[in-house]
């Protein structure tokens, strides 16, 4: 039985500095599945992700037309409605970038940061959640003895796993991953893939990837973009 649709885009058109990146993209992303977005460079894959958490709004000279709906508590909401707070959206839709972007803070503070922004949780709860997420991201064993040292001293692979842990701490309903394993060695990449397979039990995952072997290993649905348009959609086979 097919899962219900979690996110639905309708006639999405996006342009940057007058150049069209997405053209009438109408795509459904199923709930609690891994949807891989593939396509050549410049086809609009990363842009599509940024339209789903409205992060493109931080970039000047961008325009967007169309509609994006997300299912929350059994109801579909237009995420571009003024009544839908963007901070709430971004807490529900976590994102991990291609290049690891730890903040210049301690390891602990990096992971706890989203919870501290949200506020209202006791220190003990925050500590427990930090440990839980670092364990999920397969990083706890490597950093538990130096949680209060700077995250910038971690290796590239460790930084990426830290970013994944940080994205998980708010328990997002949707996780956007923009080539999350491109900076990682083979073993760490496989560990992240296992983590994603575990996470999809509770979370909808959208993964941009250039690695077809990775996509065929873990994706439930493959969405192929070309020149900002959906050209193919199918299962992993």
């Amino acid at each position: 039985m097919e899962n219900a649709v979690k996110i639905r885009t309708e006639n999405l058109c996006f342009s940057y500095n007058g150049r069209t990146i997405l053209r009438n993209a109408s795509i459904d992303f199923a709930e609690r599945e891994i949807s891989a977005i593939v396509g050549p460079s410049g086809s609009g894959k990363s842009t599509l992700l940024m339209t789903l958490n409205r992060l493109w709004e931080t970039i000047p000279r961008c325009t967007l037309r169309g509609r994006v709906e997300m299912k929350v508590d059994g109801r579909y909401y237009d995420i571009y409605e003024k009544s839908y707070p963007v901070t709430r959206l971004r807490r529900q839709v976590g994102m991990v970038f291609q290049i690891p972007n730890p903040l210049p803070m301690s390891i602990y503070k990096n992971v706890a940061f989203p919870l501290q922004l949200k506020g209202g949780l006791a220190k003990e709860t925050v500590s427990a959640r930090v440990e839980e997420c670092l364990r999920k991201a397969r990083l706890w064993d490597e950093v538990h003895y130096r949680l209060h040292s700077t995250a910038l001293d971690l290796s590239g692979g460790q930084q990426q796993r830290l970013c994944i842990a940080r994205a998980l701490i708010l328990r997002p309903e949707v996780l956007l991953l923009d080539e999350p394993t491109s900076a990682l060695d083979h073993a760490t990449a496989r560990a992240i893939e296992e983590l994603l397979l575990e996470l999809k039990q509770s979370c909808t995952i959208l993964l941009v990837s250039h690695y077809l072997d990775q996509v065929t290993r873990i994706a439930d649905t493959i969405i192929e973009l070309h020149n900002g348009t959906l050209v193919r959609r199918g299962g992993r086979t």
């Binding site: 931080t58 901070t87 971004r90 807490r91 970038f97 301690s106 503070k109 922004l117 708010l170």
Partner: protein, 296 residues
Amino acid sequence: MGAVRRLQEVGVPFFSWLCGVLLLGSVIAVIGYLFVHGWRSIGLSLIFGTTPPLDALLMKRHVFNGLFPAVAGTLSLIVLSVCWAIPIGMASGIYLAEYAGPGTKAFLNLFFDILAGLPSIVVGLFGFSATVFLNRLFPGSIHPCLLISSIALAFLVLPYIIRTTQMALEGLPLSARMTALSLGASKLQNIVHVLLPQSLSGIVSGVILAIGRCAEDTAVIMLTGVVASAGVPRSLFSHYEALPFYIFYISSQYTDREELATGYGAAIILLCICLVLFLLAFVVKRQVSYHALYRA
């Protein structure tokens, strides 16, 4: 063509190195000159005269023949001016970098550039005119004083703090800007928790420039409250003495070499005050960075 390029490859770094060395040499020459001429006068008697230092520091006795009142006046002036300028300058810089639209930003940038180019004597004249105006408005209660001087000096150094705050924030990469926003931070949370702590080095550079300018400026204070012998300032509304004015006064009125040497001594003390305040600015930056970025 190859020879010209080789010459450029060697010539440009050599010229840059030469300029750096010349600049360093000039700074060493100026400071060396000051020390050669002023070191003999340096001592507790230059600062406290014949008054016991502890009595002077505890304000039990006045210092009539030392630089203590000028040191106290200069320190009060710098601290007050920077205290007015930092919050207003940083807030304006944040507005320009993070909130202003392109039209508003272009207009305000032009305005602050003009303000940065104002000669200090013009700012002093403005401070003096404001004092005259306030004196008419509140007869007898407002006259040239420490408060007016510090506000006029703050006005003079505001562009440095505004510009450095704006540049430091605008210089942050897009990825640094997006990280906290993608984690659900509001715009204000992003500025306070991420962007400002990461911009502190640039902002502190502006504060250091402002401290230096407040310490050295004579034109503004001559028109707004400094006098040759006022003693230690007792309130914001009192006259005061200041080291740059003392140096100016001695260098133009000295009667013998010994008196001139006290002018050089005052210049060395002024340099030391600036150095201490610069170090203090760095320590504050380190503490704020540590508190903002690493404390759990």
